[in-house]
Symmetry: C2
Subunit: 334 residues, 2 copies
């Protein structure tokens, strides 16, 4: 397998250098794989941070900027960041009002964040709260995870927490909206091909030429089933129906959606999926207020996509519509 | 090869439906594969339009919006739009000040645009001017092309022409800045794998497991050479040096750059390329004013990237910095 990399063990370091070189609003904490806003800490605002394994770009550091994240810690590919680096990030993003962490539900991430939070509280007396995002409706208790996994719905949690912090809310208010978004969002994904890690250089799992995997995790963790190749419409129906069954949105509810690419699928195909998704939502009497299509949380070079549906209320809509400017997501005024 | 599509011959139609469903600022001209601004034509402003084969998303319709394009015509995959549809687009985007067309240098595109322009002039008395973009420094007289090919540098031409029209410039002024941007931009690409068209379902060209192709075109047209797999830094040096040799920028010049993904390469790898590119430009005494990294002009699911360098002057900088809001590129005030 061919990749645009140098030494596999340098890929995270070199990627972060390339990100910071492209985006002047980002700064790397020296000697770490932590990226923060260039002007961090922002005085008088709760800092919003996240972190996790690399290989999911633009997740995580791609959502740093005004109205979203203050910091993101990058682990090695598909590996949690260390508690030391997470603690350093938390302390670097505390502008006096405390720090809120958005943690995806993987055992290593949760454990290292919990340790890091204790360290930051002990070492710097930082007030910290956190949410554990578990939007993947496919499976419970997967590889690396007790309970449900945290996947692309996390982008919505970043957005609402970031907007809430930007308008001056305190930790408790931010925790409330982050929990609300997590309660009201569901995601399910599919893989057409396996991802290939730089280290291993070959597929993480075997998938036949005529097979796809439904319910796949973003590290290639097993999903719900393997089936024969299906059409885009059939796949969309399968994913969207599983999400809606879990979410059970109110009749006539407004929703925000993401058709998320896994890294190796072209935008053309994601739009084909979005066409069917929007048709299906309309048939169900749901109203799409905002539809995102693109690579938001990838799995290296995996071909495939995930579908995310968030059931809105007025507060969530207002927070999603608030301006944000980051490398991976921009929302403009009005 | 597996793809998220339904019938191969429906893919362009379904992609356009999915785009328009995602982006309320876009509208499809009924019965065509033409997408325009929802509010087209904008009275009192020169309309900026483009078009070309599908499979390069977000090119072309992804750059429709305030400050960039008014319309984009989609051909079948890797096939020029018809003169009829191009003419319909031109007429739909004329708000009384005429229409400016950004044409990439492929024989079919140029021929069909020239015919369409004659049709629009005859049928609707529309004033039309155009630029033929030919930024690819790799080869002259390739498959489908006399002279150099038009590739990712076209994004800069869209941006400066769109900004100029937005501020009320006339056709001649827009033509001048579009020609200037085209004169000062160079691009070169590489493929790690072939693209796979929906129609054919197998690789367009054969590339060995240990081979890459330098100077590749965005339809898989032959490049300058095939070599053994190289590191990201070696590839970056090769591409950037070819571009700089052709461009021959002034000592100490300011530049804008794009590391463009071909569709199947993850963002992680594009940032690794950007790291080396910025290092090399600094070593050459050039100053990067703005660096873009992402999928701007793709080649279906091809793995690989291209590097674009634009030599700036004050006018081009001002036009690139002007606000724009499109699905594929957003520039915010300040």
């Amino acid at each position: 397998m061919k990749k645009l990399i140098n030494e596999p063990d340098a890929v995270v370091d070199e990627m972060l250098e390339g990100m910071v070189a492209a985006h002047p609003g980002l700064r790397r904490l020296e000697g770490t794989e932590v990226v923060v806003r260039a002007d961090a800490p922002v005085e008088g605002k709760v800092g919003i941070v996240t972190g996790g394994g690399s290989g999911h770009e633009p997740t995580h550091a791609g959502y740093i900027g005004d109205g979203m994240l203050d910091g993101a810690a990058a682990g090695e590919v598909f590996t949690s960041p260390t508690a030391d680096q997470l603690s350093e990030m938390i302390q670097a993003c505390d502008g006096g009002e405390g720090v809120f962490c958005v943690v995806k539900n993987y055992e290593g991430d949760v454990m290292n964040f919990e340790t890091a939070i204790e360290m930051a509280e002990m070492e710097a007396d930082t007030d910290v709260e956190y949410v554990v995002v578990d939007d993947d409706v496919a499976v419970e208790d997967s590889l690396y995870t007790s309970g449900r996994r945290g996947v692309a719905g996390t982008i919505f949690v970043h957005k609402v927490a970031g907007a809430m912090a930007h308008r001056g809310a305190d930790l408790a208010e931010i925790e409330r909206v982050a929990e609300k978004a997590n309660d009201r969002v569901g995601t399910m994904g599919t893989a057409l091909t396996s991802c290939v890690t730089p280290e291993k250089g070959e597929p993480t799992f075997d998938l036949g030429e005529d097979e796809i995997e439904l319910g796949i995790g973003i590290h290639g963790e097993p999903g719900t089933e393997r089936t024969e190749v299906m059409s885009a419409d059939e796949i969309t129906d399968h994913l969207a129906e599983a999400v809606l069954e879990d979410l059970d949105p109110a009749e006539g509810a407004e929703v925000a959606t993401i058709v998320n690419g896994m890294g190796g699928t072209p935008l053309m195909e994601l739009y084909v999926v979005n066409r069917r998704l929007q048709e299906l939502l309309e048939d169900r009497g749901l109203e799409t207020w905002n539809a995102r299509v693109g690579d938001y949380m990838t799995s290296l070079d995996m071909m495939g996509c995930s579908i995310t549906v968030l059931e809105l209320d007025d507060e969530l809509k207002e927070l999603l519509a608030a301006p944000a400017e980051t490398p991976g997501l921009t929302v403009t005024e009005g």
